[in-house]
Each structure stands twice: as C-alpha cells, then as structure tokens.
C-alpha cells in the first residue's frame, strides 16, 4: 500500500477551502456586495437581521438554505419533507434570532435548529416510507480518464454507500453526513450536534466502520486483486 498517498494528504472534501479554492456559500446583496458564509460581512447581515431587517435575513436564507437542505434530506430521506423542514428551520431562526449571541458561527446555530427539526420530522413519520424519496444519485459527469469499467464500479460504490448511510441509526448517520459528505470540520460538526469533539469523533469512526463493512466487497476487491 502506498502509505504516503494516505498520510501526507488528509482526505479533504472537494469543496473544502484548502482542496479547491474557497467555494464557501456566497450571495450578492441588492447593493451588489458579495457576502460569503463565515465572514464579517455575514456577521454584519446577522446583526442587521437581528434589528428586524427581513431583507438582511432573506440574504442569510439565500446563503444557507441549499446546504442546509442537503443535510436535512439525508436525515428525513424525502424531498418535500426536507423542503418543509428547511422552511420551518428558517421561520424558527427568524423568530428566535434575538437569542443568537454570536458565540458560535451563525450557520452552526442554524444547522443545530435544522438538524433537531429534521430529527423530529423523521421520528414523527416513523416507519412510513417517504412519499417523495431521494432519487438515485445521478451519475457524476463521466471522467474520460477512467475506463467504462472503472466508472461502473464508482457508480456501484455510490449506490452502495447511499444505501448503507440510510441504514445507520440517526446518531451515527449525522456525523457522517456533516463531516464526510457536507465537509464541515470536526469542530463545526460536533458543535452542530451539541457534542464534545471526542464523543463526536468516536461516533464518526463507528459510523465509518459500519459503512465500510457494508461496502467491504467494493472497497477491497481492487486492492486484493
């Protein structure tokens, strides 16, 4: 095994600021000013919204709604319910914005509301199947450097991973979604889940091991060949 490939470069998500420029969510205000998540400009928007300015809050919606939706849909597993959860989350956030003291990042506070709301929806629905379930992951743009066989294997792995994630209990699914799929840092994801970092890391590791076991054939076959 080429250890250097695994050790020298920690696995960073493709959108991660270090791995791929800085594609953090951003919006443009009506005045044409760019606002990026996690910056002073965003903090200014939050303060303006706290003074009752709904336009400023709508900018925050445009900044965060789609990434929050991506997290929520993996909790509730239903597109329409996920959209309703995101709406409810922002309504709650708007109504309780005065209680946000700025001790954490705004999105951490927002995601915590969203994740709790999503869990409530998921638990309420119980075993009833989703009415508008997640569509199968679309095949990513064909990479011509890879053979058709390699592309088919990658697609098999994606489908197996999606299925394995949905089998995980919620307390283990969330760390995986926040950290590995959505690319939050350990500190951010632990804060969203209201966990200490050690407890978060322990859950994340167990979740990864469970998923690895579920897709074992697909992640070891090439290596063992």
């Amino acid at each position: 095994m080429d250890l250097a490939a695994g050790s020298a470069l920690p696995l960073l998500p493709t959108w991660h600021p270090v791995a791929n420029g800085d594609p953090r969510p951003h919006v443009r205000t009506p005045a044409g000013r760019a606002v990026t998540a996690g910056t002073d400009a965003e903090a200014h928007l939050v303060r303006t919204a706290q003074s009752g300015d709904r336009d400023a809050f709508e900018q925050l919606v445009r900044l965060h709604a789609d990434r929050l939706y991506a997290v929520v849909i993996r909790v509730v597993g239903d597109r329409h319910e996920a959209e309703e959860v995101v709406q409810e989350t922002f309504l709650r956030a708007w109504r309780s914005l005065g209680r946000f003291e700025g001790r954490s990042q705004f999105f951490t506070w927002l995601y915590r509301i969203g994740v709790n709301e999503a869990k409530r929806t998921y638990e309420r629905r119980g075993a009833r199947p989703a009415s508008t379930p997640l569509e199968e992951a679309p095949g990513q743009a064909a990479d011509e450097r890879h053979t058709p066989h390699a592309r088919a294997e990658a697609q098999d792995l994606r489908q197996a991973l999606e299925a394995a994630i949905m089998e995980l209990p919620m307390d283990y699914r969330m760390p995986l979604v926040l950290r590995d799929i959505e690319g939050l840092s350990t500190t951010q994801a632990a804060a969203v889940m209201d966990l200490g970092e050690a407890a978060f890391k322990s859950r994340l590791h167990r979740a990864r091991l469970a998923v690895r076991a579920a897709v074992e054939e697909l992640v070891t076959q090439e290596h063992d060949a």
Partner: protein, 85 residues
C-alpha cells in the same frame, strides 16, 4: 523469550490503538508522534493495512457523494417567511 513476549504485547497494544484511531489518521487529526506510531504498526500488520486502505476508500467515496440541490429551495423559504412573519 521475554523480549519476544514484550514485542508481541506491544504489537497487540498498537493493534488496538491503531484500529481506534484510523479515522483520526485519515482526517489528519493525529499528532506527529501518533501518526508515526500508526504508520509503523500498519507497515508490519497486514490486517490493519487492509482495513486502513478500505476505510480510506470508503471515506473518499463518501466525500464524493456531495451533490448540489437540483434547484434552490431559498425562494420557497422566503415565500413562507413573507407569508407567516
């Protein structure tokens, strides 16, 4: 004899420790001396080497699952905010 027993005990200690810290290693969250400890063990332990490699592929696969929303949900959120607040 004693030396061999001690080496075996140390190997097993490192084996358990490595199994519990593979995620931290892949995330680049180990201290340099911990990273060396894990790499040295993995060098000598085929079981951990296979496990680490398959875990690395699993996590890489998970990272590639991220996908953009087909269309933005922001307009529907803003509509509801305007209606209900």
């Amino acid at each position: 004899m004693i030396r061999r027993l001690l080496a075996k005990r140390r190997f097993m200690r490192d084996h358990h420790w490595t199994g519990a810290h593979m995620s931290d290693y892949l995330d680049g969250e180990l201290r340099p001396e911990e990273q060396s400890r894990l790499e040295e063990h993995v060098h000598w332990c085929p079981e951990c080497r296979r496990m680490l490699e398959s875990l690395r592929r699993t996590v890489k696969g998970l990272m590639e699952l991220r996908r953009p929303a087909p269309e933005s949900v922001a307009p529907s959120v803003i509509d509801r905010l305007r209606r209900e607040s």
